[in-house]
């Protein structure tokens, strides 16, 4: 999966509430009805990247099975980025759809 698409998915997922890594991958998988499966090798480098860019923030706290887990929260910068990237994506998707449908006629 292209990195920007994965970044957008992660940002969107975290917009609702803070999650740990596993939670993020489960949420993406569920909401996409199993279309997107995020591997460890894609997810964690992406989280590291987003954290470095200041779009998300990581904090340690207790998870549901009472283990120490790292929870990721969207920062204000991350929220702005989400809005911008979502708009850009909407435009691309809309354009794609239009072109593809025009082709079909």
């Amino acid at each position: 999966m292209a990195t920007e698409k994965l970044d957008l998915l992660i940002l969107k997922t975290l917009a609702l509430d803070p999650l740990h890594g596993y939670g993020i991958s489960r949420r993406i998988e569920q909401v996409s009805r199993g279309v997107f499966r995020v591997t460890l090798g894609a997810l964690y480098p992406a989280l590291q990247r987003l954290e470095r860019a200041g779009a998300i923030k990581a904090t340690w706290s207790r998870s549901e099975n009472n283990r120490r887990a790292r929870y990721y929260t969207l920062t204000r910068a991350g929220r702005q980025r989400l809005t911008a990237e979502q708009q850009a994506w909407d435009r691309v998707a809309e354009a794609m759809t239009r072109v593809l449908q025009a082709d079909a006629e």
Binding site: G21, T39, L40, G41, Y44, R52, G54, N65
Partner: protein
Amino acid sequence: MNALWSYCRELFQRRRLDRESVDELEHHVELAVAEKVRAGVDEHEARRQARLEMGSIDLVREQLAEGRAGFLLEQLAREVGYAGRVLRKAPGPTGLSVATIGVGIAVSTVLFALIDGVVLRPLPYPSADRLVSIFDTNSELGVDRAGAASGNIDDWRRHASSFEGIAGYYAMGRTLSADNDADVVLIAQVSTDFFPLVRVTPLLGRTFTDAETLAAQFNTANGPTGSNPVVVIGHDLWHQRFGSDPDIVDRSVMLERQPFRVVGVMPAGFALPEAGVQAWIPWDLSGERPRDQHYLGALARVKPGVPVGQAQIELNRVAGALARQYPDTNRGWGVQLTPLATAVVGDSARVLWILFAAVGLVLLVACANVALLSLMRGLDRSVEHAVRLALGSTPARLLRQSWIESLVLALLGGGLGVGLAAGGLRLLPWLVPDFPRLDEVAMDVRALWFALAVTTLAALVSGFVPAWRGARSVRGLPSLHGLRATTSSARRAGHRSGGVGAGVAVWLGSAGT
């Protein structure tokens, strides 16, 4: 600020961050397994599935480590450490390589310091590039370099407009005594323009007034005469004979048993008009003087913006006029202007450059020897390379490792070389006592930069062949079949050690000349 903080954290808490990411990744897998178990899968099977679906934790862990700041640094440190262990395992060849490179770097650094201090650096006087020495020439008599005649210098001064000043001087050893202690010191008697044209202000007191110069009647045969004679002394004389006495000005010293009043002290390093001069007395060159006795030194400052060649043309025109005016003494005499730096350093510059080139060759041969030694070591490394490749290392990493070994060797050699060079430079005044400007030669920052540059170069040159050969053997040795080939390749090493022998012989030969 925040970015800086996390950067530092990544740099200095690498181990902790790594542990945290392992923790996080394991937790992730745990949760996935737990979920499968809840769905009714057997735990063992659940683990297998999770591993298949999610990939290896270790790979991700490495990926994360690579993404952190300082990863390259850490890797470099690890590889340098590894190179150190490899080199320590072969102390003989390693010691020989370090010594070879060390001597090469030491010798080239000493020569650089010499060339830098003697040739490259301008003389330590204000606008020293405008200072020239003037010599008399006479092609009719076949004289291409003679001293100036005292009778001509005043005419030069008055008629040539290309100069800010022209001074005549004569240096001689004379007995200087003070406090019942006598020594022969080199004294220069200098004409009016001398101190104004060198533009060096005295450390203490002053230089000569015009009245003092006019009053000075110094006869080279009979010694100084004249009323109330004065002298300016050099820093070393002041320091050694008078204990840096701050009240030296107006004290009296004896020159050839006649009292001279000290009017000034020149700063350290002032070595004009000649190296070693430690006292200056005024000399009046106006009026009629002999025009046919060519024994004076002449120092001049060319006006800013006037090319030295043009100044020489003008002064030759003046000399021509004098030849017509005084045909008996001046016919055929012209002048030649030499930049002071060239006049001071003389032929030493050429000798130094030739030596420098020779030393460069020696260094090159030294590098070649080190490369050959590394190659010999490289022979029994092919198995190790194959093993490392099989364990997931890449040819690029092996190459880098080979370069790093050369770099470590060169750095050790460079350290040794700088030490040797610093020692050698201290010995120089004792080895070649009459060399010009030697007091300006030192192991300074420029010499250190040079040594560093040469070290890097040596690493590149001596690392090139082993790396290149390593690359070839990597391509030719993709499997572990090499394990059995070691004995035969050890036998093949014979011709390479022959090469090493030849290299050492060339090196010794070129060092001996």
